[in-house]
Amino acid sequence: MAQVSLRKIVKAYEGGVQAVKGIDLDIDDHEFVVLVGPSGCGKSTTLRMIAGLEEITSGDISIGGTVVNDIPPRDRDIAMVFQNYALYPHMSVYDNMAFGLMLRKFPKAEIDRRVKEAARILDITPLLDRKPKALSGGQRQRVAMGRAIVRDPKVFLFDEPLSNLDAKLRVQMRTEIKKVHQTVNTTTVYVTHDQVEAMTLADRVVVMNHGIIEQVGPPQELYHNPATKFVAGFIGSPSMNFIPAKVEQASGALRLHLPQGIVLDVPAARTARYQAHAGKDVLFGIRPEHLTDDKPTDKSNTAPITLKPDVIEPMGMETLVHFKLDGTEVSARLDPATPAAVGAPLSLIAHMDQMHLIDPTSDKVL
């Protein structure tokens, strides 16, 4: 068990390309932190630097208070689960899990106890004699986790562990990983490009983009108070709508002027916050789930908006409706009972207490 801290970490490749541009991050003991971002954002590189598989160009990484920059992976007391499992094909499941302990010269009885305990936690006891070839994807993933658990390391590192599984199994294994973390409670750094995984698993989510950290925070915090346009758009599915708008002053209140003559009232509680931007162009950000049917019981902090559906996607529990607003794509999540038809005007309401305004030049959320 240990804290992990990253100080001004830079990873530059030959030719000057910087994959990671000086990030700082502190991970607490027992914490489950997820690094999330699009491909090429530097999240995997960061994880591999923590593991010691990539050299650090500059900065310091410490695990449990010790700077590990020059310590080889085997002496960092970490365990890693790889995307393609990286199980040794010539060893049985038991030997795969026991390998790290055997190299560390644990007594046979202790190895046996730990392997069987991990196999019990992961429900793979009947598979111990098999070779990885004879396992399904989900079983291989469990073995890879078992190999990490038996070591009882200071830190678990997961590098996109669910990417090779089909959608159904991914959901199941996600729950398994959460359960395992609740059982063993080891500090965990988990890398994924899937924001749903990030939201469901993490104590804290670290959103990365272009080699920098955009925002760090608990999942709900990132969802409700994104710091930048990138975070606002990345977290949440379908992603947030961004509509060009202008803030106008109107007798002590603020109004947003959207394309096609749509005007929305800014809630009184936000007036002070946006006052300085009166008269300026901004991006109006609102999540599809905050554009709903015109029938809430409490209509405070809402604004009516009428749009013509372009595409309608019934999903069963909800219906996604897409609109075009002067070239901007807008989507809304509606009750499936809503009588929506393509081209027919549809009355919706925007939940303005959930809105965000974004400065189009800095991409910061105001």
């Binding site: 010691g52 010539h90 790290g100």
Partner: protein
């Protein structure tokens, strides 16, 4: 046999074309086509492998003048050549020398090839091609020619190696004149010639080991030696055993290096089966006995091949 007939629709036959259509049907069958297409290979195999092998066995049973079966004293008639070989000290020396030569040369080739492959594997890709090309040169030169070059280097009168030894103060070595040095010389030349083959096979095998296995092993706590022992070698086991088997067959049957370098000397102590068979059969004119000598390679290699291929099949079943 429904599948065999399913390749083409069967035409309704006209009254007097019954015979032709059944021939057509036969020609269209998949099994017929398969047999037809393998005929060229079968002809080559029968002509170049089965017939010479059968003829070799037949020859080995004949007497020196090839007028009848070779009579045996304690083995049945026709096996007399083998009887004489069993009683011949030279033959047992040849058998012994063949085994020493083949086994030590193959082990050395495998070790040198593995070492070279590892070195190459860790050179950046840009420089790798150049080195790979240069290191393959010994394997590309016809061995009869390159062995001649080695013969000059070993020759007592002009030996460049001995000259070098003299310069640095090492006593001169009778490379081809003394039996152990002569045996070593043959092995050196064979290793020089054959190691690049191992190198290129092992390099391909090394490149096919997923990098993540090494990373996983590094995190599991393996030192570089342990990574070699627990990851690289098991992952390469099939290539290693197939290459060793292949090389064992070729090295066991080696003829040109011995023939050019020592011609079996001194006192027939460096002969291997192939060069001894040539000496007995062609140079001494006893073709049946030469055939009998060469037949001894077969059972030894067959046993090796059986065990190696069994191991390969077992590993394939478990891992692939």
């Amino acid at each position: 046999m429904a599948a065999d007939a399913s390749t083409a629709p069967i035409m309704p036959s006209a009254p007097n074309s019954g015979r032709a259509s059944s021939l057509q049907r036969l020609a269209r069958r998949r099994s017929t086509i398969a047999v037809l297409m393998t005929i060229p290979l079968l002809v080559v195999l029968i002509g170049l492998v089965a017939y010479p092998a059968g003829y070799g066995i037949y020859l080995s049973t004949l007497n020196r003048r090839m007028t009848g079966f070779m009579e045996g004293e304690w083995l049945p008639n026709g096996l007399g050549n083998f009887e004489i070989l069993f009683e011949s000290e030279t033959f047992w020396a040849v058998a012994w020398q063949s085994c020493i030569f083949a086994i030590s040369a193959v082990i050395l080739k495998a070790l040198v090839g593995f070492w070279l492959a590892h070195m190459l594997h860790h050179i950046p890709a840009k420089g790798q091609r150049k080195w790979r090309g240069m290191l393959l040169v010994p394997w590309v030169i016809p061995p009869a020619l390159s062995t001649l070059g080695w013969w000059w280097m070993f020759d007592p009168a002009y030996s460049s190696i001995n000259w070098l030894f003299q310069v640095v103060g090492i006593p001169q070595v009778p490379w081809l004149g003394e039996k152990w040095w002569a045996r070593l010389s043959i092995i050196i030349v064979n290793v020089w010639y054959g190691a690049p083959f191992f190198m290129i096979m092992y390099l391909a095998a090394l490149k096919s080991v997923p990098e993540q296995l090494y990373e996983a092993a590094a995190i599991d706590g393996a030192t570089s030696w342990q990574r070699l022992r627990y990851v690289t070698l098991p992952m390469m086991a099939n290539i290693i055993s197939i290459t060793v088997l292949f090389s064992l067959i070729v090295t066991f049957a080696n003829y040109d290096i011995v023939r050019v370098l020592t011609n079996g000397g001194p006192r027939d102590l460096t002969h291997v089966f192939a060069s001894y068979a040539f000496q007995v059969g062609i140079l001494s004119g006893n073709i049946p006995r030469g055939a009998a000598v060469s037949l001894f390679m077969f059972p030894i290699l067959a046993i090796c091949a059986f065990f190696v291929l069994r191991g390969v099949t077992r590993r394939n079943k478990e891992q692939m």
